[in-house]
């Protein structure tokens, strides 16, 4: 399988505290990879490295290489803004721009990217993104309402639509359902399954049932180390490492 990301010996520190220890991982194209582990294992730090979200964090330092389609994302040739367009991010708390309408929330990325698009083009892309995020039918008659007027689950799908609008290759999601109720969670999970195959998706979750349901591959992190990564069917029926087994059976610690 083709790899989108190849991570080689990634270590990182916040000040003196080492958060990631020589992570080596490949992320396969057009599949869902979950990163799971207990709190503080470094999973969020890891996923945020993939689109250089830590660039501005004081005291952050890293070693190793992160290759996106073979190019080191820290090379001078790579513009972080362009990188983040190719590698979109969805956060734990839905964060639509509060003063913008539903429509503008999705269109904003297209406008900010400086591409000259006709109104019809923008409308087409907004509709397509909302449809892919499984939100179009619910909002098509309320496109001018504020984004913040939607329910939490709808807001999260709006954020996914916003990320999809700029046509990224990779979608990173940092606990995208942990602020949502079970029905909204089910919708987002279904959406992730729909999008896999067209996008490369990496999801951070501490909900291992969710990792099981949505992923093709699962990586288990513990205290900054990648303990094991394998097909989800293997991880959840017969993991290779005893620590993975203890974590997923709830015998951990």
């Amino acid at each position: 399988m083709e790899n989108v990301f190849e991570i080689r010996n990634l270590s990182s520190w916040f000040g003196d505290h080492q958060v990631l220890k020589k992570i080596r991982m490949d992320i396969a194209k057009n599949s869902v990879t979950s990163v799971m582990g207990p709190s503080g294992c470094g999973k969020s730090t890891f996923i945020r490295c993939l689109n250089r979200m830590h660039d501005m964090t004081p005291g952050f330092r890293m070693e190793g290489e992160i290759l996106l389609d073979g190019t080191n994302i820290h090379s001078e040739k790579v513009d972080p803004v362009y990188l983040r367009r190719r590698v979109g991010m969805v956060f734990q708390q839905p964060n639509p721009f509060p003063r913008m309408s539903v429509f503008e929330n999705v269109a904003v990325g297209l406008k900010l990217n400086g591409r000259k698009l006709s109104r019809a083009d923008i409308f087409g892309k907004v509709e397509r993104s909302l449809a892919m995020a499984a939100l179009w039918n619910e909002v098509k008659d309320h496109l001018n309402q504020p984004g913040a007027s939607l329910s939490g689950g709808q807001q999260q799908r709006l954020c996914i639509a916003r990320a999809l609008a700029v046509e990224p290759e990779v979608l990173l999601m940092d606990e995208p359902c942990s602020a949502l109720d079970p029905m909204s969670t089910a919708k987002i999970e279904e959406l992730i399954e729909d999008l896999s195959g067209k996008y490369t998706i990496a999801v951070v979750t501490h909900n291992m049932q969710q990792a099981a349901r949505i992923s093709d591959q699962v990586a288990f992190f513990l205290m900054g180390e990648l303990i094991e990564m394998d097909k989800s069917g293997k991880i959840f029926t017969n993991p290779s490492d005893k620590r993975t087994e203890e974590y997923i059976t709830g015998r951990f610690g």
């Binding site: 399954e193 896999s196 049932q209 093709d216 989800s232 069917g233 959840f236």
Partner: protein
């Protein structure tokens, strides 16, 4: 790529059906071979067992993966649990068909003892039970499952009848004993197939109603 949950459940149902179709065919063909004294059909039945064994493994794998990855609940959980148990019963039915192949191979190498009447009747009923049990599984028809369980008595009675009849052959002419014994074994295997079909029906009732009707004597 990973498919949606409902597609995975539908896929499992389809696998169970495919296996059910195979063991039904094995069952039908082996009796046909015995009645028509056609050894070529016996070889065909033997070759089908490989596919059945393969599906036996694949179905269990699919069930275990569904349980591990999807945390099925309620009717989905009962469906998957039923599929696993039905899987075992179907594999055993395939084994019984092979047991009959072995008896038939011996019987085809010696002169006919008597025209076969009750054994094909037993096979027909066992076959109908098997087909009905799988139909009940696919359509979630617990009424059909109940009715089918009741038919197991017919198979049992025929088995006793076959035994009594062959006993008179053996008592009047001991040279018939080897052939009669083979036929008695065939009827025993057919009776077991009826038992497995009954088990499948019980699993279907559990799947549909969530009610365990096993080991409770004649059904109310």
């Amino acid at each position: 790529m990973k498919k949606h949950y409902s597609e995975q459940l539908a896929g499992l149902r389809e696998q169970v059906l495919r296996m059910g179709g195979l063991v039904e065919q094995m069952n039908r063909k082996v009796i046909q071979a015995l009645v028509e004294r056609n050894a070529a059909i016996l070889a065909e039945v033997r070759s089908m067992e490989t596919q059945v064994n393969q599906l036996h493994i694949e179905i269990d794998e699919a069930c275990i993966e569904l349980i591990a990855l999807r945390q099925p609940a309620a009717v989905d959980l009962r469906f998957i649990a039923a599929a696993m148990k039905i899987n075992t019963d179907m594999e055993r039915i395939g084994d019984q068909a092979i047991n009959i192949v072995e008896r038939a191979e011996v019987l085809l190498s010696v002169p006919t003892l008597k025209p076969l009447i009750d054994i094909p009747r037993m096979a027909d009923i066992a076959q109908e039970m098997l087909k009905a049990s799988l139909d009940a599984f696919v359509t979630g028809d617990d009424e059909l499952a109940y009715r089918t369980i009741l038919r197991d008595d017919e198979v049992d009675q025929l088995k006793d009848q076959v035994f009594r009849e062959l006993l008179t052959f053996m008592m009047s002419d001991p040279t018939t004993i080897p052939r009669a014994m083979e036929l008695i074994l065939v009827s025993r295997h057919l009776e077991r197939i009826g038992d497995h079909a009954t088990n499948i029906c019980e699993d279907v009732i559990f799947m549909v109603k969530g009610k365990d009707v096993r080991h409770q004597g004649p059904l109310a």
